[in-house]
Symmetry: C2
Subunit: 308 residues, 2 copies
């Protein structure tokens, strides 16, 4: 990766960010043919195809590596300029972070309010989406992520934040209709709320009750926002695994009932971030780790199974 011509690297980044060669040319104030030549030269030098010529263009896996390099380069340049007192005209520091929906709906935002805002830091939050987050980190579109994936993305460090606890819950009316006999049997028939197609938590819970024989039922409503998920359960569309901080007030007020109080499910969360020495990112990482230590469970506790 050494001796990559930096004008070519910056050009590749502009093409990815702008989406087309023409738009990149306009942004860089050069001709489209100059953009095209620089990208081709970089592909020859690296011996790899770096861009898929789709609309918009997208980096290949090799291209993502170069794009991340370009973003890290820009970040370092910017930090250096800030230290030299040359940064005034560049605007505030931007920290893009991917966050899983349940963390964003519970402990993460209060944590961010603890980050000192002098000089100001702009938080650019992205909705985490496991496969997508890996690409965002690999490409350098986010500098860090709160994710349930422990697999380190290339160029990133991983740190365990703690366990998020989920409780199986339903509205009292829903429970009265659907849970009249054996819970394990009833759960195989009852409508279920799941976050999205990848959300395996409800199935894991039912499997834990049935000794692995069966997952949740076939009537599944997909509600891919954290508060929407909790509301769908409270409105009686189905039962679901609700994050403890969101379930607590509704359990207390009687809008939710817990199906198996002795069987919470715990999901480990991780902080992944660029291997890059950025003072603002370090500050955010420390604040997030401290807030996570307060808000999440730190051990496996009370026999609850861990689910990735």
């Amino acid at each position: 990766m050494d001796e990559l011509p930096l004008d070519q690297v910056r050009t590749l980044l502009a093409v990815v960010d702008e989406g087309t060669f023409d738009a990149a040319a306009a942004a860089l104030h050069v001709t489209p043919s100059a953009v095209s030549q620089r990208v081709k030269a970089l592909e020859q030098r690296t011996g790899r195809v770096l861009l898929m010529r789709t609309k918009p263009v997208r980096p290949t896996e090799s291209g993502e590596v170069v794009v991340r390099f370009a973003r890290q380069l820009a970040r370092l340049e910017r930090d250096a300029r800030a230290e030299l007192g040359l940064a005034a005209e560049q605007g505030p520091v931007r920290i893009p972070i991917a966050v899983n929906a349940d963390s964003l709906a519970t402990w993460f935002l209060p944590a961010l309010t603890r980050v000192p805002q002098d000089p100001p830091i702009c938080f650019e939050l992205h909705r985490e989406d496991e496969s997508h987050t890996t690409a965002l980190l690999r490409e350098g579109q986010v500098m860090a992520a709160v994710t349930s994936s422990p697999d380190p993305v290339a160029g990133c460090t991983v740190r365990r934040l703690g366990l998020a606890r989920y409780r199986a819950a339903a509205s009292p009316e829903f429970a009265a209709v659907h849970f009249t006999g054996s819970l394990a049997e009833d759960l195989r028939e009852a409508p279920t709320v799941v976050f999205d197609r990848r959300d395996a938590l409800q199935d894991a819970f039912v499997r834990s009750l049935t000794g692995g024989r069966s997952g949740a039922g076939r009537i599944r409503h997909l509600v891919p926002t954290s508060d929407g998920f909790r509301d769908a359960v409270a409105f009686g569309l189905g039962w679901g695994m609700v994050p403890e901080p969101q379930a607590e007030p509704l359990l207390r007020s009687g809008r939710l009932v817990e199906l198996a109080p002795a069987r919470p499910m715990d999901v480990p969360l991780y902080w992944q971030q660029w291997k890059l020495d950025s003072p603002a990112l370090s500050t955010v990482a420390e604040v997030v780790a401290t807030a996570a230590a307060e808000a999440l469970l730190t051990d496996r506790g009370s026999g609850a199974p861990e689910n990735a």
Copy 2:
């Protein structure tokens, strides 16, 4: 589009849904080379490239048309089988819908609870994302969408649902620090919470106060979930345009203050759906339109500007 061999059309759909030729072959119980031959034959017959051979494969714009056709075909077949009493083994009806985040966080879920669940209908909600929703509709991955885009997607009908009202709000502490002089001037400097990069509502509000001279300030926090957005404003990360149903309880309890009570912003919402006669979809469309008429504003009211 007539005389498209249906086995080839179904094969294309399987490749798009499974992501690779090998996975499609496994799902269809044929060899990968049979899958490849069918897709090539379909491309020759239509005279178009239908798939981008990326990982995972993605349909081209022409491919999206064939994929939607394949999904509509599957839906019609399924409705016919249900009417013939042959559907028992196929499981419940699935209605995939894209919904913009603010509707999902406010009026949309209570509406869904009014849809009769006999026979059961599975709601598969997707987070709306303007550009993405167009592709989801065009490809047929969702049958309908609640969206702020009035532009009909090919193959879809559009119906106006009403106006969603937003109010400029901040925490009292934030307002005391940042709004001490002229609101229009102060808003150009104060930190702003925006939903994502495409969210132009805060800029439109500031422009409406400054006679178009200026948008919101440079310190922008991006918080791309509806409840997260409201929480970020209530926690004092910045000011922002909060949906009225979410703002109301916090304004009443004093956790938020309104910056310009006489100047709400109204955003029109639309229902886009497949031109396809599906009984379940028609039921959902009616329930959604009725709930929207109750929850949203039906005219431009009180001189509030309309913002797309």
